[in-house]
């Protein structure tokens, strides 16, 4: 009987470890199971990504629809090329949709906001956003503001 | 010096030292089959070491230890473990496994070395425990036993596999007179009943003389005397007489080597 109790204890202990790991994975790191299966890739070029990083959110009307997977420099266009994965459920992004880099709060993290256009055709895997808006860089804004003040 | 008809353990020119201190120098010992042989000597002469050498737990610097013609120090690991299944050893402290019950302690060697069914193991264990008079204590844990009982359980474990050789390391040390009498009796009875060879390492003279068939006396890394208990009692050598009769002073001096007493005392002032 004593052996039985000990074995149950050990079993519960190991189970607690696995449950804890699962909770860490799902609740703490926000890992989604089967995340790469039902997504498609789209690309966007930006003048300036200003602090956007891989794994940043992609949202539409504030709702999470995907994430940034890769950022590199496009040597021909001399612009940043951002690769993002969008959930397959969201297959109604028209080809004239726009992607802009936004900031959560004044100093918060950067993310991409998508606004849908009016065309009937939709973005497919491998397509590009034609209409993009770069990150607002605080220094540029201040610079413009000062310049305007002086010129007036 | 007599020769035995049937020698089970034959130790030839054995040398062993620990650090710079020689424990054995070219020692020859023969152990007769089926008899009780005692290895005696003052504390610190490495009697326990001899048992460990026979069991292959230590390797000698030179010399051979033959058991039925097999040289222990030259055996491979597997052969050595097979050989150990033929030996039982009763350690000075009993060395029962403290985390399992008396029953499991005695069953342990059976489970390791045999494929007996659970019922068979139970029967054998109860027989062995009955032989040492502790069948009723089978469910106790070793920590609940008195010293004498623990040693008897250890004895039951040592004979669980019906070994050819049973080695006793200081079996009488630290026992009350009753437990000592019980042990003396047990060792003799078991030896007669099971027909194994017994080797007793001890410095308890009376008890050992009472049960041993043959005695080796070891001192200063050599065998200084050998013979039957009667021969030993009538031995004339000073060293042997001092040990057998328990005299405080003699060739083994009472005083640790020191400077002259008077000079030593006066030096302080």
């Amino acid at each position: 009987m004593r052996i039985r109790i000990m074995e149950i204890g050990v079993g519960a202990f190991l189970l607690a470890g696995i449950v804890a790991l699962l909770m860490l994975a799902l609740n703490v790191s926000g890992l989604k199971l089967m995340e790469s299966n039902d997504t498609y890739r789209v690309y966007a070029r930006f003048e300036n990504i200003g602090g956007l990083t891989a794994r940043s959110k992609v949202t539409m009307s504030g709702v999470l629809i995907g994430q940034v997977t890769d950022i590199r420099l496009d040597p021909e266009a001399l612009q940043a090329l951002v690769e993002m994965e969008i959930s397959k459920d969201v297959d109604y992004l028209s080809i004239d949709s726009s992607a802009s880099i936004l900031t959560a709060g004044l100093l918060g993290e950067k993310y991409i906001g998508v606004v849908v256009g009016a065309e009937e055709e939709y973005l497919q895997d491998g397509d590009y956003f034609e209409d993009t808006q770069s990150a607002l860089v605080l220094e540029d804004l201040i610079g413009k503001f000062l310049f305007n003040e002086v010129s007036e | 010096m007599e020769q035995f008809d049937d020698v089970i353990i034959d130790i030839q020119k054995l040398s062993f030292s620990r650090g710079d201190r020689a424990i054995y120098k070219n020692v020859d010992i023969q152990i007769p089959r089926g008899k009780i042989t005692a290895i005696m000597g003052p504390s610190g002469t490495g009697k326990t070491t001899l048992l460990k050498l026979i069991g292959g737990q230590l390797r000698p610097e030179s010399g051979s230890i033959f058991i039925d013609g097999k040289d222990i120090p030259r055996l491979g690991r597997r052969e050595l473990f097979e050989m150990r299944a033929r030996m039982g050893m009763l350690f000075q402290s009993g060395a029962l496994f403290t985390d399992i019950s008396v029953f499991e302690n005695v069953a342990f060697p059976l489970r390791i070395h045999t494929d007996l069914s659970e019922e068979m193991i139970r029967d054998v264990v109860l027989m062995k425990l009955h032989a040492v008079g502790l069948r009723g204590a089978r469910d106790l844990m070793p920590s609940e036993l008195s010293g004498g009982m623990a040693r008897r359980v250890a004895l039951a474990r040592a004979i669980a596999l019906d070994p050819d050789i049973v080695m006793y390391d200081e079996p009488f040390t630290g026992q009350d007179p009753i437990a000592m009498g019980v042990l003396v009796n047990l060792i003799r009875r078991l030896n007669r009943a099971l027909g194994h060879t017994s080797i007793i390492v001890s410095h308890d003279i009376q008890e050992t003389l009472a049960i041993a068939d043959y005695i080796y006396l070891i001192s200063d890394s050599e065998v200084i005397a050998r013979g039957t208990p009667e021969e030993m009692a009538s031995e004339s050598s000073q060293k042997v007489r001092q040990f057998i009769q328990g005299l405080p002073d003699g060739p083994v001096p009472f005083h640790f080597p020191a400077a002259d007493y008077q000079a030593d005392l006066l030096q302080d002032s």
Partner: protein, 260 residues
Amino acid sequence: MIELVARLGRTGLRKLEAFGLAGIILMQSLIARPAPTVMFPLVVKQIHFVGVLSLIIIVVSGLFIGMVLGLQGYTILVDYGSEQAVGQMVALSLVRELAPVVTALLFAGRAGSALTAEIGLMKATEQLSSLEMIGVDPLRRIIAPRFWAGFICLPVLATIFSLVGILGGAFVGIDWLGIYEGSFWSNMQNSVDFREDVLNGLIKAVVFGFVVTWIAVFQGYDCVPTSEGISEATTKTVVYASLSVLGLDFILTALMFGDI
């Protein structure tokens, strides 16, 4: 002068010899392990001993460390108006650093010292010799199961420590200090990466479990079988294991998160 060099050499050789012996023990117990049917109950017993019985101290320490982190993080971050980041700070520091390191230190004190003392006592009471005489290799029977148990238990304990710590931090942050629950968790989920943070923390725990158990069983197996010898070995276990954990943590952190 010559004397000094000679003494240095002797000490060095002795240390090298001890290290060699530790290596042999490691190899023997990991490679030459007994059949699974024999091994399994022994490992279960040891997991009970070093894992289940360490659970309380781990849960309590994890809870308090998480709560303290939440409180301290709040007082600092509230000055910058970014108290939502408390969740992120608590989770990252626990998962990456504190859970594996503190768990390993507690494990060394609670289970490591007990392992050393137990094996040392088995040596002192001739149980190890007795096993050998019965024809069982004590390395396989005694050392190997303890090894595997330590190996399995530390990552499990560290994971539980992380989770309990984060819950403690959440309790302080959300229920006590009134951080908005949604931003607390979403901030945490955005910044903690499963592979980068959780798995790397787990790898640290596995390495620490390995090292602490190794030191503990070696000190027990190698100790002088007297009461002073055992107490000295137990002290050594705790000191050496703690120092190794801290040193290794730096190296592992540099490899995992540093840009080398």
